[in-house]
């Protein structure tokens, strides 16, 4: 039996199981934020933004330079979010706007181009010397005792910040005029225009907000995985799996998807039968589960069935 599991099976070590679940919640919160960022773009522009991960990576490397210049970890978080916001706005204005209204594939290709651009430029500027780079967290990695188990302080921070940001997003979209205008624009841009809403400004804001969420996830994940030009790519894969699982159009779906994927990743990584599969196989395994779910529910867990009136 022991040979089957990498770790002792869950019923023999509840503390380890609990730890994997709770820290899965924590990384899940970041996947959820990243998935929300993808959903935000998908709802307004109808595409998956493939540049999402690299914009976040680029921003986090810029924060790393500021870290070397002596800034505090918490300052890097705030600046990382602001830089993400600015990068998102610039990307929409400069490269997405000209292909707006073109076939979706054109916009997808533009985001793929951005992926390469940000990746290359970041590699060119920062990928010198030893990789990966250390990135600071405002929290420590010492365990916090939760009673049944303990998790690193940083992970608890992830969970709390993630939950806080989700609450802020709910308030933004449901309680403010600009949030309502953004939802309206995503649904029916023509009607939004007739209400006097500047559709272009709402699109810019959506991309900016999305990249800000990406930036936040970037600076919170870097202390765990360390920083190198490809470090956000797995996050992108997990988050897009989370977004698809949630239905791609549903913000609550993205959040649930994020948590499911986060916990699933940890449990698969810990308990995959070592005899047949190593922990390296957790990503393909998660994607396999995802495909199975989509076979049963093609619209994801919370997605709206696409209804087209003829």
């Amino acid at each position: 039996m022991e040979a089957l599991f990498l770790a002792p099976p869950p019923w023999e070590d509840w503390s380890l199981f609990g730890q994997q679940v709770v820290s899965g919640f924590a990384t899940g919160a970041m996947y959820a934020l990243f998935a929300l960022a993808l959903v935000l773009i998908y709802r307004s522009t109808d595409i998956i933004n493939f540049a999402q991960s690299e914009v976040a990576m680029f921003g986090t490397f810029a924060m790393w330079s500021l870290y070397l210049a002596g800034l505090e970890a918490w300052q890097l978080i705030i600046l990382g979010v602001l830089l993400g916001f600015a990068l998102g706005a610039v990307v929409e204005r400069v490269v997405v706007r000209p292909v707006e209204g073109r076939p979706h594939l054109s916009i997808v290709v533009v985001t793929l181009g951005l992926f390469l651009l940000f990746n290359s430029v970041a590699t060119w500027i920062w990928a010198r010397g030893e990789l990966p780079k250390h990135f600071p967290s405002p929290f420590s990695f010492e365990g916090v005792n939760l009673g049944f188990t303990s998790i690193p302080q940083h992970h608890l921070g992830l969970l709390l910040v993630g939950a806080g940001v989700m609450v802020l997003l709910v308030l933004l979209f449901n309680r403010t005029k600009v949030g309502l205008a953004m939802r309206a624009t995503a649904q029916n841009p023509l009607a939004a225009q007739l209400m006097g809403i500047s559709v272009g400004r709402m699109l810019t804001l959506g991309w900016a907000l999305s990249a800000a969420l990406g930036g936040l996830a970037g600076v919170f994940i870097a202390p765990i995985t360390f920083l190198h030009p490809g470090y956000m790519l797995p996050v992108f894969l997990y988050a897009s799996a989370a977004a698809v699982l949630g239905g791609l159009t549903s913000p609550p779906g993205a959040v649930v998807g994020g948590f499911v994927i986060g916990i699933g990743e940890n449990l698969l990584g810990t308990y995959t039968p070592a005899k047949w599969l190593g922990p390296e196989m957790k990503l393909p395994l998660i994607l396999l589960v995802l495909i199975l779910i989509l076979l049963v529910r093609p619209t994801g867990l919370f997605g709206e069935r696409a209804v087209r009136r003829v």
Binding site: K177, L180, A181, R183, A184, Q187, N188, L190, A191, A192, Q193, L194, M195, G196, I197, S198
Partner: protein, 235 residues
Amino acid sequence: MLRLRDVTAAYGPVVALHQVSLEVEEKAVVALLGANGAGKTTTLRVISGLLRPRSGVVEYDGLQLHTLSPDRIVSLGIVHVPEGRQLFTQLTVLENLELGAYLRRDRAGIRRDLEKVFQYFPILAERRRQHAGSLSGGEQQMLAIGRALMARPRLLLLDEPSLGLAPMITREIFQIIRAINQEEGISVLLVEQNVRLALDISKKGYVLETGRIVLADTAEGLRANEEVRRSYLGY
């Protein structure tokens, strides 16, 4: 109040309006008639700024409307209720109405206008928490007009308010359009297939044919016109 002079407009190479000139007076209801594809909707799109004319002038209170953006034109009090209503179907009735007042900052005035819309359309008050997509066709048209009223317009551009509605509902909506015009003093430029109903509430009308104005007269004049009777009234 609103004057189009020699407006020519095109979708790419396809010219949809040829030198169209028309005028909407303060507090008047003006009908814009014509067959499918005559250019009625295009005329409204030019006025609300969705389509830039190729040449010609759109004047509104001395402003050159054809140089302004759609959101600027809404802020001047011209609100377009498009064909097919274009509601935010996944938002609630109340949210749709709030979006109508998007450019306004006067909270108290917005609340008063919301009450007014609910007086004109009591069914909307009842359904305020429902998704707009769950309303019946007539209710959706009422919401589209109510949403436009929330912008506190001076000129309403109504495109086919009777489209797809039962005759009784259509009559009800036309009575309300007339009431809005008379009680609120809002001018209306009305595009409508139902010529008889349209002329009933209009002061004057224009007939468009393949992008050209072929007839302009008072409502009585048009009703008496042989051509209009044969082509649009059917007697």
